[in-house]
């Protein structure tokens, strides 16, 4: 049995220890917001947070996160940064097909947690790990700035 805390809820899962976290999240726990795109940590669609760090769940064996705290797209809206990012995503109508967007949002939230006021260069560097075939990159950049500004204003109030 492997023990996981996902979005604040505890789970005991009985799966092959080498199963990637992605498939445990999607199939065992039924949280399908986290996506499969490449299985090789190349596209970032599977990005989740493990103890606050953005990781690629498609290459992370579930045994390696035993006892860890995991946040997925379904739970990220409960965080300050997550809420700001989701709202900015809606303001800028970022998603097109939407398939990569969970990964984009999880990466963007991790970035804002690390640096609440990132410059373009840092956004580009962090976000270049997540592929978007629809080409929403310009809007992602814009929405991260929007969320960042909103958070700064919120802090002053």
């Amino acid at each position: 049995m492997i023990s996981l805390e996902v979005n604040g809820k505890r789970y005991e899962v009985d799966v092959r220890p080498d199963t990637p976290l992605l498939w445990v999240i999607r199939e065992t726990l039924g949280l399908t917001g986290t996506k499969y795109g490449c299985g090789m940590a190349l596209c970032g669609a599977c990005t989740v947070h493990v103890d606050g760090e953005a990781i690629r769940s498609c290459v992370t064996p579930v045994s390696s996160v035993d006892g860890k705290r995991i946040t997925t797209i379904e739970g990220i809206g409960k965080t300050k940064e997550g809420k700001a990012i989701q709202e900015a995503w809606i303001s800028d109508d970022v998603p097109q097909c939407g398939y990569c967007q969970s990964g984009q949002i999880m990466a963007a939230v991790a970035l804002l947690k690390r640096n609440p006021r990132p410059a373009d260069a840092e956004i580009d560097e962090t976000m270049s790990g997540i592929l978007c075939r629809c080409g929403t990159y310009q809007r992602i950049r814009q929405a991260i700035h929007r969320a960042s500004k909103k958070m700064a204003q919120g802090g002053k109030r």
């Binding site: 092959r16 917001g33 499969y36 596209c43 809606i90 097109q96 097909c97 949002i105």
Partner: protein, 722 residues
């Protein structure tokens, strides 16, 4: 108690789409059935036609017959309905249409999404659907109030009477409106009165695409569902000779290993067990006749063919004769490779097959063809097959497969295992699975007189036919999809010859966002640049002169050039290039600003894009689609290439088939030409001009002409040194 009449969708729709005459309809709509249930606890709804359902809770459901793959149809098409229905935008929900003739494409005679046709092909039908419903609601209110319908108007989900000011919500009219006669020839609004069309409305699908709730084919779960991966032949046209499943079946979670037409399916409790089972599976292949196929050999054959006359696609004037007498001749060869669609969501299909019915969940662009193919495989009648169209994690043409490859295969797996099963393609399966944009080789020549005027144009195209053998096969020597954008070259030239060779190779090919235009724009617009430079002319001015009779081309060309500041000094080491192209009823010009570093790496800094797509429905969607098309095209310019060796596809995943990433994203500026012309498409037309715009810019800054895509960094580096 109210009587709820349950009709099968099919008989309901077959008996005429429009239903009135005392029927209060409650019926099951497949996709998001739970949502429709939640919105209509009583099951009472007003469904004046196949596209609109209004519940007693005032919720307005718009049933969309086009697949949402990012292009925004779940917003733009509801806008057409909402404009005439006069409904509160926040009360709208969208539901995917089931497969039914009522939802056929207005031009195709089958249900499907593609060719950048959605908005213009539904422009009349959906507005009429909205207007008809509005009139029925007005008539219902008027009857309840015993007033003249002419004294009533509709506004944001209410019918309001002018004199008394009394108002009633659509939800409260559901029952009465269902008894109203369906009016004919309801007048539609004048464009000047539009409140919704032409405004940047927020996409209706954004919230669920930011919190993990959006359901793609990959995400659908049904009780008892198994997961399968299919091992397909390493060479197209190959077959299974024999296989040994002993080790695969020993993997915990693996349920069954079965042979199907397309290969061997490993069926398991979940994806990981299936993958492990597949690794343990031993298969001996009969590789078939393509086992020696290699890109190099194909290339040599294409080059040879290009030197011979092909099937004539266009002949104007006397090109050969004028050409031979031209004061100056220019010749060039251009090449583009096979390309994969590489949708972010790998292909997948879930099938629940029973003795007398089949339920399918998938993201498809061609519902009718897929349903019919599923019925054939399952041995059922088409009406016994139901397709639940989910969100598509990208389509770009791949999910509209004329052979229904990913659907037919999944049904064949379900037929053997007799349990609900989802076939998941791995990224590698998807990349190697064929149905590529064809490789093309072009030989092109221009003749100029002694004044530097362009007097003759010859263009020979070599590449596999996309339409041949599909239900869309024109059965002619010239596949229009191979020559679109070349045979209709817009420039004022008196003598033109465009001809075509369509070698039959056996590699599955398919439409890829912008289809033939994805290559013809690159060739024509790059070569036009060569011609301009050869006579010492500015490439923008040269084009303008030859487009004097093409106002819409000229309009976007000028707009893009002006907005970019064509002619103004650029930062040192930067160059600019321009291109203009018409496709899918829209006109797009782009100016790209690039630099090339000493190691040959191209950096695209900025793209200014102008589009004339006729009548505008959702400006922000148009902008998004231009940004999208540009990124899609840039991936092909810089990286995209599927190659073959020993019959095998060399590429497998994003390390050897890279896509543009955020750090390479140029600033994109989009300008829309206001227009009252018939709407054109926007999903594809942003793609064609970007390759020539970028390559023309590279020429302007390096003097090196790119005639083969993708750009080879090493070659460019070498050329920079020399």
């Amino acid at each position: 108690m109210k009587e709820i009449v349950h009709l099968s969708r099919r008989s309901f729709l077959k008996n005429g789409i429009l239903v009135g005459g005392g029927l209060t309809l409650g019926f099951y709509l497949p996709l998001r059935g739970s949502l429709s249930g939640a919105s209509n606890p009583s099951g009472v709804t007003f469904m004046p036609n196949a596209f609109i359902r209004i519940g007693t809770d005032d919720k307005v459901t718009i049933i969309v017959n086009k697949s949402e793959m990012g292009q925004g149809v779940y917003t733009s098409l509801p806008m057409l309905v909402a404009e005439e229905l006069e409904v509160d935008w926040t009360k709208i929900r969208v539901e995917a249409a089931p497969v039914d003739p009522a939802y056929n494409h207005t031009q195709w005679g089958a249900q499907g999404t593609g060719g950048s046709t959605s908005v213009w092909s539904e422009w009349d039908r959906l507005r009429k659907a909205g207007a008809t419903a509005r009139v029925m609601l007005i008539n219902a209110a008027a009857e309840i109030w015993k007033v003249d319908p002419a004294s009533c108007r509709a506004e944001k989900g209410f019918i309001i009477q002018k004199g008394t000011g009394q108002r009633i919500s659509y939800g409260k009219l559901v029952e009465k409106a269902s008894q109203m006669k369906v009016p004919k020839d309801v007048p539609l609004k004048e464009p000047k009165d539009f409140k919704v069309i032409g405004k940047s409305m927020k996409r209706l699908d954004t919230p669920e695409k930011t919190n993990g709730e959006a359901i793609f084919g990959m995400d659908v779960k049904i009780p008892g569902m198994l997961t399968a991966v299919v091992v397909r032949p390493p060479v197209f046209g190959g077959n299974v000779k024999s296989f040994n499943a002993k080790k695969a079946k020993a993997i915990p979670g693996v349920k069954e290993v079965v042979q199907v037409d397309s290969g061997v399916a490993v069926i398991a409790e979940g994806f990981w067990s299936a993958s492990k089972g597949r690794e343990a599976l031993e298969i001996v292949w009969d590789e078939g006749i393509l086992a020696k196929l290699a890109t190099k050999g194909m290339h040599e054959e294409f080059e040879r063919l290009a030197k011979t006359p092909g099937a004539v696609a266009k002949k104007k004037g006397n090109p050969q004769q004028v050409f031979s007498k031209a004061a100056k001749q220019l010749h060039a060869e251009y090449e583009v490779p096979y390309l994969a669609h590489a949708c972010m969501e790998p292909l997948n299909c879930l099938v629940d097959l029973h003795d007398n019915r089949c339920e399918i969940w998938t993201g498809t662009q061609l519902q009718t063809l897929d349903r019919d193919a599923a019925a054939r495989v399952a041995g059922l009648k088409p009406e016994q097959v139901n397709i639940h169209t989910t969100f598509l994690g990208g389509g770009f043409g791949r999910r509209g497969n004329p052979q229904s490859d990913f659907v037919a295969e999944a049904v064949s797996v379900a037929k053997v295992i007799k349990k609900p099963v989802k076939v998941i393609w791995t990224r590698e399966d998807d990349m190697k699975g064929g149905y590529y944009r064809p490789m093309w080789y072009d030989r092109i020549a221009a003749g100029l007189d002694d004044q530097g005027n362009l007097i003759a144009w010859q263009h020979t195209i070599v590449g596999q036919s996309i339409l041949s053998g599909t239900p869309f096969d024109p059965k002619k020597d010239v596949d229009p999809a191979s020559v679109e954008g070349a045979e209709d070259i817009p420039y004022e030239i008196q003598n033109i010859l465009v001809d075509l060779h369509s070698p039959k190779i056996g590699i599955p090919v398919q439409w890829w966002r912008s289809v033939g235009h994805s290559h013809t724009a690159f060739v024509v617009e790059s070569f036009m640049d060569e011609v301009a430079h050869s006579v010492g002319k500015d490439p923008y001015e040269f084009r303008r002169k030859l487009l004097m009779k093409r106002p819409r081309h000229l309009g976007v060309l000028k707009l893009a050039a002006e907005k970019f500041g064509w002619g103004k000094p650029l930062p040192k080491g930067h160059g600019r290039g321009i291109a203009v192209h018409e496709s899918f009823g829209s006109f797009v010009a782009q100016v790209a600003e690039v630099s090339v570093n000493p190691s040959g790496k191209v950096h695209v800094h900025k793209v200014v894009c102008a589009i004339d797509c006729g009548r505008i429905v959702n400006p922000d969607t148009i902008k998004a689609q231009m940004e999208s098309g540009i990124v899609f095209g840039l991936s092909a310019v810089l990286y995209g290439e599927i190659t073959f060796e020993s019959g095998r596809v060399n590429q497998s995943n994003f390390h050897d088939y890279p896509l543009l990433r955020m750090n390479e994203m140029p600033v994109v500026e989009v300008h829309i030409v206001p227009s009252e012309e018939k709407s054109g498409g926007v999903g594809e037309p942003g793609v064609p001009p970007i390759a020539p715009a970028v390559c023309n810019a590279i020429f302007s800054v390096t003097g090196k002409r790119i005639r083969r895509l993708p750009i080879r960094v090493e070659e460019l580096k070498k050329d920079l040194k020399s």
